[in-house]
Amino acid sequence: MKTDILIAGVGGQGQILASRLIGVAAILEGYSVRTGETIGMAQRGGSVVSHVRIGGDSRAATVPFGRADLMIGFELCETVRNIKRLSENGRLIVNTQRINPVTVSLGMEKYDAAAMEESLRKVTGRLIMIDGYSLAGEAGSVKAVNTVLLGAAVGSGYLPISRESFMEAIRSIIPQRFHNLNSAAFDSGYSLAGRIIAENAELSMR
């Protein structure tokens, strides 16, 4: 299996931990892994992306344009900003959470969420939009939005790594006091995405 994944979001949303979890889970399943991160100034609330390449023989960690098999968008606008890396009809998980850049709050720029959603729908039909912020809140903390989204990627079948490997990855790299939170957050994304896929399948059968 070769899966190239792109994670896009806003600095501070926990993308680096998410890409590490994918990497550790993939190694547990015997795959080679490369990841590439944004670390440094952009982490302070700027646009950040993480690249994760599972299997395959590529030497560079950066996923080229049009080559991501799966994209996990942590924030709507940042998903659109990086959508050109997604492959034709690629798999897309989007957190519908909107984080206004300060430029928007100051009235210097516009944030047109409807137009953004529209452009994503045009790019791929294999798209799941979930309110990761609320799910993470229900699981115990809005900070766990990253594991909710990973759960959704696995639960939808978009990310072919098992739930069990992720649980082990959570146990091996996250401090123990956060294990229950992250497992619960992962499972809430996992179940919801699983349900959405099942409903979509049912609709297309009719």
Partner: protein
């Protein structure tokens, strides 16, 4: 054992495996995790320190290497500028224990003030440099670098770039740590640099360059493969992109992978150039490999087209990508380079990095801004998170040059514009790094400036490293805390105030007072970085009291504040740190209702 390791972690574990004994450095993106990883994996046999700056770090490491220990010093590319004085002389003096300088370059740049190329520094200093193309190669190279350093008696530079430092690979890190017992310092005239010794050593160094070139022609980090009349040469991450592109285009082409850009492996390069009609060189930043190949081709009288930056085939500025390399190789090999259709996307707002919600720097800048309203004032800035104070709406950083420059640049402006009030903003770690000489200069030369030390008790931007003002060391010890206030007073700054910037009224009045002082005055805005504090809770905006004036957002641009469709402010509870700055701004008392976190 297979582990997922970041390039910087791989370098650290490689150094540990190679038996490194002393590790020093100064934090700087993208290099910081190297030293931190050594400290995290230290079994007690390694001495690790964050030094006060890169020059000091280089000299501490040099002393250790004089004493026969394997030593490593880490920094970012601009840090090497600061350390260049000891670096240049070290080439003449040489080392006994292996000394490896890890200087991380930042093409892009993603987090730096320049796109300088450390491979030039290696050539300038007559020191060998290794240029890894993957994290796993960095792991091999750091170990080889120690051996090479001891073999030739010179420091060796390892020059990873951001895409190596901050990329992770699954790497096999089996094997135990090599034992290298330091022989100790032996008194010898060789350690004392004098003009006569320098002349003799210069002759030796030039001979070593030739020897190193021969050693590198046989190095496993340099390889020639394939056949044909066209050749591709590359180094660093550009080489990795090249291999991916050659695979995707299914090209059968001669290649030259360069892992040691200086001294250039000339013999191996000759075997690569043999029979070629044209070469495409792929390397980020400066045309180092390109120039080396041009020189060899000229010396040998070869009629080969050498294409790269000088011929406009690849860019000088910015980092490379798969796409840039794909285009260059496609054109070079006569294939159609097709531009992919880009999906039509809606216009997007930009998202530059900002000071965090609750950041004390925002309060400090705001206090100075309020106090100087209507006055002719210039605000010089420095390197750190607080450089972000340049963004709207604060707009409080008028200059930023390099580490420590805020205090000295302010003095130059003051000498030309005596009627302007000069404020120099500098963070605590930067103050210790290179800020202090500027303070002494201002006191000595009696220049009227206000120094504003933004003391958040950490080196925040690079990932919260300790420094002399934090009293914590990388060996886990508690040390004597260097008191910035006492230090300023001891060098002759007569007017010094320490204030919490969130005490807005007191902060504004202190700034006003400081600006009237004859000579040098200093304000220390002391408040810890919020990323290190437990989030105390969040404030709420009362929609009943909010009059939708937007003043809070317009004045401080806090990322936790969002204006709704009704133009009333809403505070995102997960982002708000309850700093209270907006509470002191709202003219209608609409913000309050502190909600404590459990």
């Amino acid at each position: 054992m297979i582990k997922l390791l970041m390039g910087n972690e791989a370098i650290a574990l490689g150094a540990i495996k190679a038996g490194v004994r002393v590790v020093c450095g100064y934090p700087g993106t993208p290099s910081s995790e190297v030293l931190e990883t050594v400290a995290k994996n230290n079994d007690g046999s390694i001495y690790v320190e964050w030094s006060v700056n890169e020059k000091t770090a280089m000299e501490v490491a040099a002393g250790a290497a004089y004493s026969g220990a394997r030593a490593m010093v880490t920094m970012k590319q601009v840090g090497l500028n600061v350390a260049s004085d000891p670096l240049m002389s070290l080439a003449y003096i040489g080392v006994k224990g292996g000394l490896v300088i890890v200087a991380a370059d930042d093409p892009g740049p993603l987090s730096s003030q320049t796109e300088q190329d450390t491979r030039h520094f290696a050539k300038f200093a007559n020191l060998p440099v290794l240029d890894p193309s993957t994290p796993e190669e960095a792991y091999e190279m750091i170990q080889a670098a120690f051996d090479l350093s001891e073999q030739v008696g010179l420091p060796v530079i390892l020059r990873p770039t951001t895409r190596i430092c901050h990329a992770c690979s699954s790497i096999d890190v089996s094997g135990s740590r090599e034992e290298h017992i330091p022989s100790g310092f032996e008194k010898d005239p060789r350690w004392v640099i004098f003009p006569q010794l320098s002349y003799k050593r210069h002759i030796e160094i030039e001979k070593l360059q030739t020897a190193l070139s021969l050693i590198f022609s046989k190095s496993p980090f340099n390889r020639v493969s394939g056949k044909g009349a066209l050749g591709i040469a590359g180094s660093g991450i550009a080489w990795s992109y090249a291999l991916d592109v050659i695979r995707d285009l299914d090209l059968d082409i001669k290649t030259f992978k360069v892992g040691t850009p200086y001294p250039f492996p000339a013999k191996l390069a000759e075997s690569f150039l043999d029979g070629l009609s044209a070469v495409l060189v792929l390397e980020e930043l400066d045309p180092v490999v390109e120039e080396a190949l041009l020189e060899i081709a000229a010396n040998k009288g070869l009629k080969i087209g050498i294409l790269g930056k000088k011929t406009g085939n690849t860019p000088y500025a910015g980092e490379f990508s798969y796409e840039i390399v794909h285009k260059a190789i496609s054109e070079f090999s006569g294939l159609q380079s097709h531009d992919t259709d880009e999906p039509a996307i809606s216009p997007l707002p930009s998202r530059p990095p900002v000071l965090c919600a609750g950041c004390p720097h925002r309060a400090s800048f705001y206090a100075v801004k309020k106090a100087m309203k209507g006055q002719k004032a210039v605000f010089t800035g420095d390197i750190g998170c607080y450089t972000l104070g340049n963004a709207k709406p604060l707009n409080m950083v008028d200059t930023c040059l390099c580490m420590g420059a805020s205090i000295s640049v302010a003095q130059g402006i003051k000498r030309v514009e005596p009627d302007t009030r000069l404020f120099a903003f500098i963070g605590d770690s930067t103050f210790f790094h290179t800020g202090i000489p500027g303070v002494i200069n201002a006191v000595y030369n009696q220049t009227d400036i206000v120094i504003v030390v933004l003391d958040n008790g950490t080196t925040a931007m690079t990932g919260h490293q300790p420094h002399p003002g934090t009293a914590r060391t990388m060996m886990g010890n508690i040390s004597e805390k260097i008191d910035i206030e006492a230090l300023l007073k001891s060098v002759g700054v007569k007017w010094v105030r320490k204030i919490n910037p969130f005490d807005h009224k007191a902060a504004v009045s202190a700034v006003k007072e400081a600006s009237e002082v004859k000579g040098v005055s200093a304000i220390i805005f002391e408040s810890p970085c919020i990323a290190l504090a437990k989030k105390p809770g969040a404030f709420e905006a009362d929609p009943g009291k909010c009059r939708a004036c937007g003043m809070c957002v317009r004045e401080i641009g806090c990322p936790a504040m969002v204006l709704g469709k009704d133009k009333k402010v809403r505070i995102e509870p997960s982002a708000c740190y309850a700093c209270g700055l907006c509470v002191s701004i709202c003219p209608f008392g609409a913000i309050g209702g502190m909600k404590h976190e459990d």
